[in-house]
Symmetry: C2
Subunit: 341 residues, 2 copies
């Protein structure tokens, strides 16, 4: 109930607040780094000859040896004069990478650009095993096989529409906001995932927080769980936590929720959750976590977008046609936490 009231107030705020969107901004540095991880050593595998470049002679490759594994990749843009008091970290969801935040499938600038324009130093990461974080030989180092998401799964699980036929009809929800004409472009952003690397991934995220924060963390989907646990591990470091459609959350009976009292949370939900059965289930843990936070005296606002009159958002709401309106709502909420100069 109280969350709905908060949401409506924020919806009013979006009309009143006009974020000055600069067309250009002064940058101090663009760069990246890897953080976390360990060295794994393999032995006992046979050698083989491999031609690496056409026309090049074969090179004998011994697959045994030391490998860097379980690190994560972090890209950053630092502004010359940020307006935000702390940087914003953007953490992607499952089967995806930081590209989630860099671009929209229709070619429009992503939320990275939005938050740069709004005056934040922006850090966009690839979790362990994804994208530029790299991945390791399985089953020797990673303990299971990778999963590859089909276009059909992306279409249906991300609530773009109720059904997708191979080489056939793609049915979208009426009034949905995803740029479906660019869905195949979106599918190019997908990467394989493992289901056995959660501990390593959490370690790497915690190492990132130790290195960069105090900060604001924005998480999406599978990133929700990692973000909530990172806040438990370092509640003094995370000044605000924005969870976009979190697909999981820690069991509040197993963590010290009181530690999170001073970490303001915002959970943002899109539309059509009642139309895709699995989302009825996926919301349960984040809702319980949120209730426990509030019961412990913490701040945990909810933007239920359709409840606020903002209709048609999919699970990939940072890519929807109205996504910058949603980003503006989030920016306004962050500003209310006292995090803008």
């Amino acid at each position: 109930m109280s969350s709905i009231r908060v949401s409506l107030m924020a919806a009013v705020a979006v009309v009143a607040t006009s974020l000055p969107m600069r067309a250009e901004y002064m940058v101090k540095e663009v760069g990246s780094f890897h953080v976390g991880g360990r060295t794994a050593t393999l032995s006992g595998q046979p050698s083989r000859d491999v031609v690496f470049s056409p026309g090049a002679p074969p090179i004998k490759v011994d697959p045994n040896g030391e490998f860097a594994v379980e690190q994560m990749y972090v890209h950053y843009v630092k502004l010359a004069q940020p307006k935000a008091r702390v940087p914003i970290l953007l953490w992607h969801g499952g089967g995806l990478t930081g590209v989630t935040w860099e671009t929209k499938p229709d070619g429009k600038p992503g939320w990275q650009q939005f938050f740069l324009n709004a005056g934040y130093d922006v850090y966009v990461s690839d979790a362990v095993e994804r994208g530029r974080a790299s991945w390791a030989r399985y089953p020797e180092i990673f303990k299971s096989e990778p999963m590859f998401r089909t276009k059909k799964e992306a279409w249906e699980l991300f609530r773009i529409g109720p059904s997708y036929e191979i080489a056939g009809r793609r049915v979208a929800f009426e009034g949905q906001q995803f740029p479906i004409e660019a869905f195949d472009q979106f599918a190019k952003q997908g990467v394989p995932r493992w289901v056995t690397n959660d501990a390593a991934t959490q370690n790497a995220y915690n190492a990132l927080v130790e290195r960069i924060c105090p900060c604001i963390v924005v998480v999406h989907s599978q990133g929700g769980n990692f973000g909530f646990n990172a806040a438990v591990a370092a509640p003094d470091k995370i000044k605000a936590l924005v969870a976009i459609e979190p697909s999981g959350a820690p069991d509040s009976a197993k963590i010290d929720v009181g530690k999170l009292k001073d970490v303001p949370h915002l959970i943002v939900w899109g539309d059509f959750r009642d139309k895709v059965a699995v989302w009825q289930q996926l919301q349960i843990a984040p809702n319980k976590y949120r209730d426990a936070l509030v019961a412990a005296g913490g701040k945990a606002d909810v933007f239920d977008l359709p409840g606020m009159g903002i209709k048609g958002n999919t699970h990939m709401l940072m890519m929807d046609r109205n996504s910058d309106d949603v980003a503006r709502l989030i920016h306004d909420w962050i500003a209310k936490q006292g995090l803008m100069n």
Copy 2:
């Protein structure tokens, strides 16, 4: 002989030219896109139940369906007022990603930052199968197994030093310039590679050139072959081609070298090539290609860095301690091709 003379003149130029390095620069947009690729369809694989986030209910996954494969990833930073007439594209080498250009293992800014400071719009890509370009199930879609580079191979093949023992002594070449104290950090940048995706990778690079160029292309190592072939495919689009330690090149008897007459080439070589046997072999194809270019009336300069008195550079010369001096040499050469406003 003529190449040595060109090199010495350039070495003199580096002393004379002072590139104004701004500490900050005005950016219009940071973003990314995927280009190239196709849809692959799998069928006949059994379904399974998978728990994607801790605490979440299992989701039934059907691995059959449509997948986006063989696309590449491209990150860009567009300046408000570029000084370069065309953007610069930075293409990485084998077993690596665009991170090659974003950072140095000791944390210093990479060549992406150098060229942004120097006034170029910069595009940094991940080739097919690498990093954020993603990869596909094998052997069903990709036709071979991935290769994982050991730390030992990176140390020795990249000419940091003659020998590397597991959990033991790492011997570096005397006078080498790689920040060896950060070698383990460098190893985190490595990603698996396949040896059966060259045609797909070339197609994606050609699609990138069609989309973004006219441009300057800077390639490293395995990227050399892709860059030379991209120039053959679109000689009017590539206004200058800088090959850093190319590990291969097209057979000049099989291409129309005359088409490349108006594509100025610069090939840059580091030190210790006589100390690592495979590099004696790897230089043969690029040298033949260069000779054929010159014989056809083209421009193909060579910066043999040790011959120019610039000693100690490894294969990863964009990460060496003196790497910005080398970048400055390259920038000066580009400026001489009439590509700066």
